[in-house]
């Protein structure tokens, strides 16, 4: 290639004129147009005309602005209706379980943060619950209160962001998500003050919590919690009776209670289908039996009910938070008898579960008496809630499938693990 003069380089940089040594821009070889369409269209067997009854295979994802992370749906469309939908995942498989088996029990706690990266505190708690069951350790009273407070704050954070993302999927670009993230910033500020990190809190330990909350932190939390219903009212004014939201969500993505139970769906998804099952009531862990709260239940099991359940759950969470912040006692936050370093639980197995914002989050641990877990298994709610995606989407249009996926509330870190 010949050397270019500076002027030619300049012209080339500005995209003007014939600086290329191969010839002027117009002479560059023009690629022939592709021979056929870039999608795959197959005629239905037995259809009369060639164009009639054609089906179209579309791969939605893994890079798609609405798939909530790197998730792919292989969709077969007849016209605009979905006749088959296969979820494909594994694009964010990060070997959580194997990595946790390779380290000590304490070393697994930061990995649990990164499972469902919206709700690191409930993930911590579920894991710590399993280890405490395995080793027979108990947490002090104040730590139990702090766990409830942080877990319910996490629920507020998760549900408000979820509603924002759901509306984003519906085409309401910006406003609801901005409102939700405004509230999220208030909550992550509290987490940052308490734990030192905005998202990856790494806060709970076997037999308590890592740091104590100051009186000032509790006061600021009270203020945020007292203000939260105002945000909920504002959000509901904007959304709950919004005509577009009603048209897009009512009757879309119906899930029957029977199918939901058979598929093992848990959390707000199950309650929206009319099954009153909440682990905080059904098998209370921590100190949840001390608090008065209700479990909202839906009627139809459609996207609107799933949206509404989350709104109502946030109000119940505010109720729990107010009680917990009033009753929180003084005292230590770590059980001095609980060992964290050189920790060897006795041989045995344990399953710790709790009501995470997305459903039943469980950790199943087998100990062989060594400092490392022999088996570390995560029951991820969003993975199991995703298995019935096809049943909910069949017969709907592709744009409805996007909001049905949004209403399932998945986080790929947890689905792929």
């Amino acid at each position: 290639m010949s050397r270019q003069t500076e002027g030619q380089q300049f012209a080339s940089a500005l995209g003007m004129g014939n600086a290329s040594p191969e010839g002027p821009r117009g002479d560059s070889p023009v690629l022939p147009p592709p021979a056929g369409p870039l999608y795959e269209a197959k005629p239905k067997p037995g259809s009369a005309r060639a164009a009639e009854g054609e089906t179209l295979e579309v791969a939605v994802g893994p890079h798609h602005p609405s798939t909530h992370g790197v998730f792919r749906m292989d969709v077969v469309l007849d016209g605009e209706r979905i006749i088959s939908l296969k979820p494909r995942f594994g694009y964010l498989h990060r070997n959580h379980e194997k990595l946790c088996e390779g380290g000590t029990y304490l070393m697994a706690i930061p990995y649990t943060d990164r499972l469902d990266y919206f709700c690191s505190l409930t993930n911590n708690w579920a894991y710590v619950l399993a280890v405490e069951k395995l080793a027979g350790v108990e947490a002090p009273e104040r730590a139990e209160y702090l766990r409830v407070i942080t877990a319910e704050l996490t629920r507020l954070l998760n549900h408000s962001c979820l509603v924002g993302f759901l509306l984003q999927d519906m085409g309401a670009m910006g406003t609801p998500l901005m409102y939700a993230f405004r509230e999220r910033e208030k909550l992550v500020d509290l987490f940052e003050e308490l734990t030192g990190a905005r998202m990856m809190c790494n806060y709970m330990r076997f037999g308590g919590c890592r740091t104590d909350a100051s009186a000032g932190w509790l006061e600021r939390t009270r203020r945020v919690v007292d203000d939260f219903p105002r945000f909920l009212d504002e959000f509901e004014d904007l959304l709950t009776s919004n005509e577009i939201l009603l048209a897009r969500t009512q009757g879309v993505g119906k899930l029957s209670a029977e199918l939901a139970i058979n598929a093992g769906v848990t959390g707000p998804m199950l309650r929206a289908s009319g099954v009153a099952y909440d682990i905080r009531k059904a098998a209370p862990y921590g100190i949840y039996e001390r608090f008065a709260f209700r479990v909202p239940v839906g009627e139809h099991g459609d996207v609107y009910d799933r949206y509404m359940i989350r709104m109502l759950e946030m109000r119940e969470s505010v109720r729990i938070l107010k009680q917990a912040l009033k009753e929180i006692p003084e005292g230590p936050v770590l059980n001095p008898k609980a060992r964290r370093r050189n920790f060897r639980p006795p041989v045995g197995e344990a399953y710790g579960r709790l009501e995470a914002p997305k459903g039943e989050l469980g950790f199943y641990l087998i100990s062989d008496g060594s400092p490392r877990p022999y088996r570390f298994r995560i029951r991820a709610p969003s993975f199991i809630n995703l298995t019935i995606l096809e049943d909910m989407c069949l017969g709907h249009t592709l744009q409805d499938a996007v909001i049905i996926l949004g209403s399932v509330d998945i986080v790929m870190g947890e689905v792929d693990r």
């Binding site: 300049f10 992370g69 990595l99």
Partner: protein, 205 residues
């Protein structure tokens, strides 16, 4: 070049002097359009950076484009697994020149906490050239903004001519990089040796 004092004096007389290079870099660095592309945890902080509190729009980079054809900044926000790496490289190849890459978070830089895993790519710079690295797990939105400003400074210092031209102005430099395939054991090739030159680790005697 006009000296600074004369230029200031002229600007007081409503005469503005500039060079095409400065104008060109000024325009480009203040309207970076990032690709709307989240991989994992860091994507949440990237979204937080684009929301009202941190407001990435102050730096002209709020127009998140869903299509790589319209974007000129790729923020690799999160863990790149070996299943996802070919898609990341393909998205990079589809972006028009000039294009820049920010590796956001420990995972995109080196694999981060998941480096020991069998399915995690140990740094996206093995396949595509990275301009700015932002450490953190995840980096705070302020750190992302700092990374963006660092990239803007880098663009401001680019020369349009001469031997110090950036990659996209050199005819012999590729604008597309080979896409790795998902082989039986590992990605094939496991790294782009023409691109990836880690500094040898020298232990003190």
């Amino acid at each position: 070049m006009v000296e600074e004092g004369l230029r200031n004096e002229l600007s007081r007389q409503n005469i503005f002097l500039t060079s095409i290079q400065e104008l060109y870099n000024w325009g480009r660095r203040n309207s970076l359009w990032p690709l709307n592309f989240g991989l994992a945890c860091c994507a949440i902080e990237m979204i937080a950076a684009s929301m009202a509190r941190f407001d990435i729009a102050r730096f002209g980079a709020e127009v998140f484009r869903p299509s790589p054809r319209q974007a000129d900044l790729m923020i690799v926000a999160g863990t790149v697994t070996k299943k996802m790496a070919p898609m990341v490289v393909r998205l990079y190849n589809q972006m028009p020149e000039p294009k820049y890459v920010i590796a956001m978070g420990a995972c995109a830089i080196s694999g981060g906490p998941f480096k020991r895993g069998y399915n995690v790519l140990k740094g996206i710079d093995r396949y595509i050239p990275v301009d700015v690295y932002i450490p953190g797990c995840p980096p705070r939105p302020e750190a992302l903004l700092h990374g963006l400003i660092t990239l803007q400074r880098k663009i401001a210092g680019e020369r349009l001519t001469g031997p110090e031209r950036p990659r996209h102005l050199r005819e012999l430099e590729p604008s597309e990089y080979p896409i790795p395939a998902y082989g039986p054991y590992d990605l094939d090739p496991p790294k782009n040796t023409e691109l990836w030159h880690p500094k040898p680790f020298v232990r003190d005697a």
